[in-house]
Subunit: 313 residues, 2 copies
């Protein structure tokens, strides 16, 4: 009986590995370092060795293992080909084939952000739903789209790249992606700090934010909760553009639920309120009642979603 | 052998019915009037009778019929429930069950715009692809999204409602949907006429458009082709906002191909050029090379796509 599977989340610094029961129960999790030297050529071998060791230590026969799901920080095509992972050093590589050959186990590959969405749907904020959009607000803005229980990889591996949806039409600065006006430029931790600094520079108003060095996203939300006007305005800008971007997503796939994750989501209710008000205003009426909630799995979402890849697909 | 199927496209005035081979060959097509009296209660019975008559006339045994696909002008949930069709008079009705009971055939239901996308993918502009977005530029703007060969209905039946994606942030007029700034307000036949009129009113410039009464979308494209500056500017506005909306779609589902249909698409190359330039500018780089092309099935797309519903699902 195939009652066990692995979920592997490959990051730029560490690889997170989860040993799961196929019913979603996490049995054990651990990390190994991501060896990026020589264009990341050791990463897959290291993962294979770690999986073998874990099975041996836990006295689990390989026959019980349904497979290995793996999330990687780059575009993934439907056949398991990874098309350049800058953070790892990989070029074009078929992770499914390589890890499958080394372990003798079925391997499924997904983009890390898309896989995190699958994890949140399976055991996190989106549990009980099968049509979901995840927005991950961290240093940048990532995301993942699930339609009828299946992640949308996109034909160029760019499904769910919601951070680069154009929303600020009069933006003058250039995004890391080379365009101007991306959601990431205003709705990431970096983005809200940048917007708050602009507000501070353009106003004589007293603000507690003037006392922070460096100014952080957390400080902005904390001061907004206390009623600081400039901080509240910065939160409102983030909420406006995120609400608009979510309305775009609704106009395409009309999800049941939006899940907001990443470091910025720790702000909690004040963030949800700012997003929700704007989403309801900008979205087509049929999608107005979509649920908007917070992610619950934190940094484990990718590991959960990777495991889920094996079970569902 | 199930080698025959029907594709039915229910419109506000007529119902188009196509008799197909399951390999995509259209054998015959005809129309019956849409009897909207008494909240459209006769429509399904009329369709059932027309199908029976067609089989009898063509001497086709019912055993050969794989099923009936039907596209309706309203939101459709995955279980075949239609959630209010204003144009027909229907409230909440399970078309699949009702038509299935009357005909004894399997019935699949889809939203008309989504089904048209499926038709264009099967035998039209998107042939050979399985990940596609259709934008239908008519009196309004409709659309349909296909991911991995399957239409995206959305959890409230609003998948592919691209006409109401918010794109014009400073729009002052209200859209038919009640919001402001929808794509439909600038990229439909009505929208481009409205924008051209605004340009004419705000300028002293000579323009051939001043001689048209009433001014039409066709006139604007015709004069733009001849170099009329105001007409060219109106086309550019449409291209800009459609390009932006397509960039939004790419950031969500990253399709292989965009197909542009509806009456406005008869403008041809000048329209594609205006869209393409803007799309390439606003979209995330991974999706930059998506194909942009014209629909080819015209008003038959819905009939084709409805037939396809039966075969694929």
């Amino acid at each position: 009986m195939k009652d066990i599977c692995f979920g592997v989340d490959v990051g730029g610094t560490t690889v997170k590995i989860g040993l799961f029961q196929t019913d979603g129960q996490l049995l054990n999790s651990f990390e190994i370092p991501t060896r990026k030297e020589e264009k990341g050529k050791y990463v897959i071998g290291d993962i294979a060795a770690a999986l073998e060791k874990e099975l041996k230590e836990k006295h689990i026969e390989k026959e019980r293992v349904a497979g290995v799901g793996i999330g990687v920080p780059g575009p993934v095509l439907d056949d398991g080909t990874v098309n350049v992972c800058v953070n790892i050093g990989w070029g074009v590589i078929n992770v499914a084939n390589e890890l499958g050959t080394l372990t003798g186990l079925p391997v499924k590959v997904g983009n890390d952000a898309t896989v995190a969405a699958l994890g949140e749907m399976w055991q996190g904020g989106g549990k009980g739903h099968d049509s979901m959009a995840l927005f991950t607000l961290g240093t940048g803005v990532g995301g993942g789209i699930i339609v009828n229980g299946k992640p949308v990889n996109g034909s160029h591996g760019a499904g769910g790249e919601v951070g680069h949806i154009p929303v600020v039409m009069d933006e003058t600065e250039v995004c890391t992606c080379g365009k101007k006006g991306c959601l990431e430029q205003v709705a990431s931790a970096t983005g809200i700090v940048k917007e708050a600094k602009k507000l501070l520079a353009g106003s004589e108003k007293a603000s507690a934010l003037r006392n922070y060095e460096p100014l952080t996203a957390k400080a902005i939300f904390d001061e907004a909760k206390k009623g600081d006007e400039i901080a509240m305005e910065a939160v409102e800008i983030l909420g406006k553009y995120l609400g608009i971007a979510m309305a775009h997503v609704a106009g395409v796939v009309d999800p049941e639920i939006f899940v907001i994750g990443g470091g910025v989501s720790k702000a909690g209710k004040i963030l949800l309120d700012a997003i929700e008000k704007n989403y309801r205003q900008y979205v087509f009426h049929a999608s107005r009642d979509a649920i908007i909630t917070l992610a619950t799995l934190g940094n484990d979402a990718g590991m959960y979603g990777a495991a889920r890849l094996v079970i569902e697909n």
